[in-house]
């Protein structure tokens, strides 16, 4: 069983929800990333999604675009992201790390070479935004062969046929994009999420994390009531942007703590 699967099982057994924060590697600078990852864990993160910056982040809103541009301006690259994961692993061997990014940097490195290097560095899962399952059959198999989980997106508009394709190609968890649009958008449709999550869980047989549009403890709690996990990204990047240089780590940790507390209240009210 992969570290990601074990994490979701452990949480489910305890009646808890997975908190999955996203940060862009190298933002605001490469030296900040590993301390930020530890701060996320201290704040209560269960899985970390680490963004690999790309020059053309088509699926991202302005906040994560800015994070990518800052990271690239500081010389961040896919190889350096892997080095950061390896550094994080020296002191944290438990928290699953999922790389999230676009296809081209991986293609430039080569799917096999990337998979070997990612495994070596201690990566647990990979989500390539512009690799739908039908375009990455071989790559997904390579990841699985190396014990890494290929994570796929599903959207409010996805058909039952897509559920089946993703169930075949993916493992670990499903990242359900809760609304139409790019990362950081507003207007989450809770009724839609409530209707879709059970369908997806049943069809795919994997835990479902929900992201896009989760802004604060309240929206996290509401989504947490419906899903197995909550992904929060743009809002953390904003926290990083709005912090003075010395206080970034502390502010991100406190912000995540607030979300954690809200998520843990779900279990308590249920009990």
């Amino acid at each position: 069983m992969s570290k990601i699967q074990a994490t979701f099982q452990r949480l489910q057994a305890a009646g808890r929800k997975a908190l999955i924060p996203f940060i862009t590697a190298g933002d605001p600078d490469p030296a900040a990333t590993v301390p930020l990852m530890h701060a996320l864990v201290e704040g209560g993160a269960d899985v970390i999604e680490l963004g690999v910056p790309f020059s053309d982040p088509m699926a991202d809103g302005p906040t994560i675009q800015r994070a990518s541009e800052r990271a690239l301006a500081k010389g961040m690259s896919l190889r350096k992201v892997l080095a950061l994961v390896a550094e994080f692993r020296r002191t944290d061997t438990n928290t699953p790390v999922v790389l999230m990014g676009y296809a081209n940097p991986i293609e430039a490195m080569g799917g096999q070479a990337f998979t070997a290097a990612a495994r070596e560095a201690g990566v647990d899962g990979v989500l390539v935004v512009d690799y739908p399952p039908q375009e990455c059959v071989e790559f997904a198999a390579t990841l699985k062969g190396a014990g890494l989980d290929p994570i796929f997106l599903l959207a409010p508009t996805s058909s039952a046929q897509r559920f089946a394709e993703v169930a075949r190609a993916g493992s670990g968890y499903i990242y359900y994009v809760s609304l139409k649009g790019v990362t950081g958008s507003a207007n989450i449709d809770l009724d839609e999420v409530a209707r879709r999550i059970p369908q997806i869980r049943a069809a795919v047989g994997m835990p479902v994390g929900v992201g896009f549009g989760i802004r604060d403890a309240e929206s996290a709690r509401r989504i947490g009531e419906l899903a197995d996990g909550v992904v929060i990204g743009s809002r953390i990047i904003e926290e990083i942007e709005n912090s003075a240089p010395g206080e970034v780590v502390a502010r991100v940790r406190d912000f995540i703590k607030g979300i954690r507390t809200a998520l843990d209240q779900i279990g308590e009210t249920a009990r």
Binding site: F54, A59, A155, T157, V177
Partner: protein, 404 residues
């Protein structure tokens, strides 16, 4: 040749031209592309749709566009005869409008009242704004802020036509970034919005859609050339940025083995300087961008790099996947023309023939200027004059130190 026996049937059902093309987009766009593919398949089978498209091309665009024998230019170059396919005479001044009409009719059929587009030089933006006005649709055009500066006149034209022009400030602030932003708009407003892509790139079915609407260029040529010269040309030459005018004129000729197809990319300051927009000529690495796999200008780490060309319309780091396939299969050849060479051809056509060409099309002309003297006088070069140069007055004048 092998290819003569096997009919050319690309892309396959999933949108692949050999290893190129495909559907590399986030899950949120998959249903929209499925819907588009289905709607387009229905339209292709519907004689009423085809008839309306053809009616609009004739009465609104002014097709067929003539082919013109550039005698004085041929004389100047000294060698093969140069014929120009006059896409510059279309309404809006370039080939772009052919595709815009097709996609706007498709949008109307699909019940989408809002169209969006990306634009580099502004020609596709103007063509989209034009058809949006023609069919009473809301229109938003994304344009890199660098290009907004370079093409001020076209920005004003789009506004006159009722479009909203959104300057894009992200990345390199050029065509690729405009395309990113248009994709983001589409994914957000997919219910009421049709994305009119201007070139033969993007996720399947766009490369097919745009190609099919542009093949009117080549189909006309196949009829016109024998009428004019008694035969088909020896070479068909067209500029390639994303490659829509080139595919439009090449595609009907793919099965004609006697006709050589030459795509002319922007070599900018020279391939060897790295400052260019010629991924095929430079043999750039293959990668994934804007929904398809193709040759891409990129660095070691797979980041897309800034391209350079005097012509905004060719300033794009990728190239349509069908061109990537035509290069690999050997059916078409791809060459580079520098800024300086294109400018020289621009001036030559102005002076010899009284035609002011677009800087994009000047690249194709410049290659004809190189090739013609190496060939006998009875050889025929057909050059796609994809657009007129009014929009480039500013750029050309500035190069000569003239400021309006």
């Amino acid at each position: 040749m092998q290819m003569a026996d096997t009919p050319y049937q690309f892309p396959d059902a999933s949108g692949h031209f050999g290893p190129y093309g495909g559907v590399f987009v986030a899950e949120t766009l998959i249903p929209a592309l499925d819907e588009l593919r289905q709607a387009y398949a229905e339209c292709q089978r519907d004689p009423a749709f085809v008839a309306e498209f053809e009616y609009e091309l004739k009465h609104y665009v002014g097709r067929p566009s003539p082919i013109y024998h550039a005698r004085r230019l041929s004389e100047k170059f000294g060698g093969a005869q140069i014929y120009l396919k006059r896409e510059d005479l279309n309404h809006t001044g370039a080939h772009k409008v052919n595709n815009c009409i097709g996609q706007a009719l498709l949008a109307r059929r699909m019940g989408k009242p809002r169209v969006i587009a990306e634009t580099g030089a502004g020609q596709h933006g103007v063509a989209t704004a034009t058809v949006a006005a023609r069919y009473g649709m809301e229109c938003v055009v994304y344009m890199g802020s660098e290009d907004v500066k370079r093409q001020a006149a076209n920005v004003y034209r789009m506004k006159l036509l009722g479009a909203t022009v959104v300057p894009v400030e992200s990345g390199s602030r050029t065509l690729k970034d405009a395309m990113n932003e248009a994709m983001r708009d589409w994914v957000t407003n997919v219910g009421n919005t049709f994305y009119i892509i201007g070139t033969v790139a993007g996720p399947h079915p766009y490369p097919v859609l745009v190609r099919d609407f542009q093949t009117v260029i080549g189909k006309e040529c196949k009829v016109q050339m024998p009428e004019l010269t008694g035969r088909q040309p020896d070479y068909v030459i067209a500029c390639v940025g994303g490659g829509s005018n080139a595919i439009g004129i090449f595609h009907p000729y793919i099965g004609e083995q006697g006709v050589r197809l030459v795509g002319v990319e922007a070599a900018g300051e020279g391939i060897e300087t790295g400052h260019h927009a010629a991924p095929l000529t430079a043999n750039a690495r293959v990668g994934v961008l804007h929904g398809n796999r193709t040759y891409l200008m990129q660095d070691e780490d797979g980041q897309i790099i800034e391209t350079h060309s005097i012509s905004a319309g060719l300033d794009y780091p990728g190239v349509g996947p069908e061109h990537a396939w035509l290069k690999d299969s050997g059916r078409a050849e791809y060459v580079g023309i520098t800024d300086a060479e294109a400018l020289q051809a621009f001036h030559d056509l102005c002076r010899c023939e009284g035609i002011i060409p677009a800087l994009e099309s000047s690249h194709a002309l410049a290659y004809a200027a190189k090739l013609a003297p190496q060939l006998a006088r009875d050889k025929i070069l057909l050059v796609n004059l994809s657009g007129r140069g009014d929009k480039d007055m500013h750029t050309v004048a500035e190069r000569s130190g003239i400021h309006f």
